[in-house]
């Protein structure tokens, strides 16, 4: 498929945007990044590109919009087959496993971190943390099985599950500093601890995952804005 004109509507602080940027980097695709201020009035271009959900990220390729980050990554993989290695595994069973873990991360695990950020009661927070650690345990097992002793979920190379989970590393570090605990630590989840360090320094992810202190500043700003609008 020809290169074409590529734009990404997104926000620097959004891990869902970050993962699409990583996929574009893996395929060495040039694109125009259009920052959307998600917390103020939704821009007309966003509403036109994603009228159903009105969310970012949206990839626009040759004026055609593709929405939902997991779908966008699969689209990038299928539309640019000649650029670099595949993002998803080539074997259908391995692909099914990769999709399973991507859905688990997005629908079950990461929402727990968001929930933790909203709760104030100690007991509720403790209960959520227990679930987060259980989930991290499952992801550790998944890493061991999928990586088969290699560096990334996809083996020697960064692939689908790596970027689906890796995009959250900035927010994971924010959670760790606020909770005073490590989520991926060397004792409980040694595989993930090593993977996380390798991932953030990989070319695909470098300069994309925001620094935790910038995310904290952003988070405080959003909370303040919410409080002032009541």
């Amino acid at each position: 498929m020809a290169k074409g004109d590529v734009q990404l509507l997104g926000a620097w602080s959004s891990p869902f945007t970050n993962r699409v940027q990583m996929a574009l980097n893996l395929k060495s695709i040039d694109y125009e990044f259009i920052e959307v201020n998600f917390y103020s009035n939704k821009s007309e271009s966003l509403l036109k590109a994603n009228p159903v959900h009105k969310t970012i990220p949206v990839l626009i390729h040759d004026e055609k919009p593709i929405c939902e980050s997991l779908i966008i990554i699969q689209y990038i993989d299928e539309a640019w087959t000649k650029n670099g290695q595949s993002i998803l595994p080539s074997d259908p069973y391995d692909r099914a496993i990769a999709r399973f873990w991507a859905a688990y991360i997005d629908e079950k695990w990461f929402p727990l971190l968001k929930e933790l950020g909203k709760e104030s009661g100690d007991e509720t927070k403790a209960a959520i943390m227990r679930k987060i650690f259980e989930g991290a345990g499952l992801l550790e097992e998944a890493f061991v099985k999928c990586s088969k002793g290699k560096e990334f979920f996809d083996g020697d190379n960064v692939g689908y599950v790596d970027i689906v989970l890796g995009c959250f590393l900035g927010w994971i570090k924010v959670t760790e500093s606020m909770a005073g605990l490590k989520l991926f630590d060397e004792t409980r989840t040694p595989g993930l601890a090593g993977w996380a360090e390798r991932f953030v320094s990989h070319n695909a992810a470098k300069d994309i995952v925001p620094e935790p202190h910038k995310l904290i500043e952003f988070y405080m700003m959003v909370q303040a804005a919410k409080a002032s609008t009541g």
């Binding site: 498929m1 159903v52 390729h61 055609k64 593709i66 929405c67 939902e68 779908i71 966008i72 699969q74 689209y75 299928e78 539309a79 259908p92 069973y93 692909r95 099914a96 999709r99 399973f100 859905a103 688990y104 499952l138």
Partner: protein, 226 residues
């Protein structure tokens, strides 16, 4: 090597229906094992330890979980009798099909669960409105085509297909609305699909699904009359 396919199933599940439709469309013979969800089998717990849910498809001893994953897996491993696949080959059209499948699971399914489990008349009316809003968007996507896949059945027809009995059950009186009146094109699509053997053999009969939901609600002390 001989192929072995086993489906861990629960009869009233819309997610199971769509997998059965996919298997039938591909002409795959499989063993169907019904699960008692109040007493899950050791096999289910072994094959889906993370979610412990059905459907699970086991292909030559290896489990695939989550219905949309299962359908894509079947599609990638087997061409149908005409050598065709459910998902279109064009990457953009594939992305659109996946987008609407995701919409069905995130929005339509949620509305259908709220209709099943509503506690008040207000909750029911709100859930029915949500469902109709979803169906109107899907009708726009269908347009004048016989199927979402175009002239022939495709991925989205199968993903939404799991709901066909449910749509008919709603119109038999599960809700206070008529999908036929509000979204007639979608009901035409439903009837067209239900004439296919893959659908008629896979789906529960609408009146049985209707009765199942009514009985389940009564067991949980929820009223069926307003």
């Amino acid at each position: 090597m001989s192929e072995e396919w086993v489906l861990l199933d629960f009869r009233p599940s819309m997610f199971s229906y769509r997998v059965k439709i996919a298997l039938a469309e591909k002409g795959i013979s499989y063993e169907c094992r019904e699960e008692d969800l109040r007493n899950k089998s050791p096999l289910l717990l072994e094959m889906n330890p993370v979610h412990k849910k059905i459907p699970v498809l086991i292909h030559n001893g290896k489990p695939i979980c989550e219905s949309v994953n299962i359908i894509q897996y079947i599609d990638e491993v087997c061409k149908d009798k005409n050598g065709l696949q459910f998902l279109p080959s064009d990457p953009y059209e594939k992305a659109q099909a996946r987008f609407w499948a995701d919409f069905i699971d995130k929005k339509l399914h949620v509305a259908s669960m709220k209709i099943t489990w509503h506690k008040t008349k207000e909750e029911l009316e709100e859930a029915e409105k949500e469902m109709i809003d979803c169906l109107k968007l899907l009708e726009q996507e269908l347009g004048d085509k016989p199927y979402f896949g175009g002239e022939r059945l495709g991925y989205l027809d199968i993903v939404l297909g799991g709901f066909c009995s449910w749509f008919c059950a709603i119109d038999l009186g599960l809700g206070n609305i008529s999908i036929d009146a509000e979204c007639s094109k979608l009901m035409e699509w439903t009837k067209r699909c239900m004439e296919r053997e893959s659908f008629s053999k896979s789906l529960e009969e609408p009146h049985k699904l209707h009765d199942f939901v009514v009985q389940m609600r009564e067991r949980w002390g929820l009223t069926n009359k307003y």
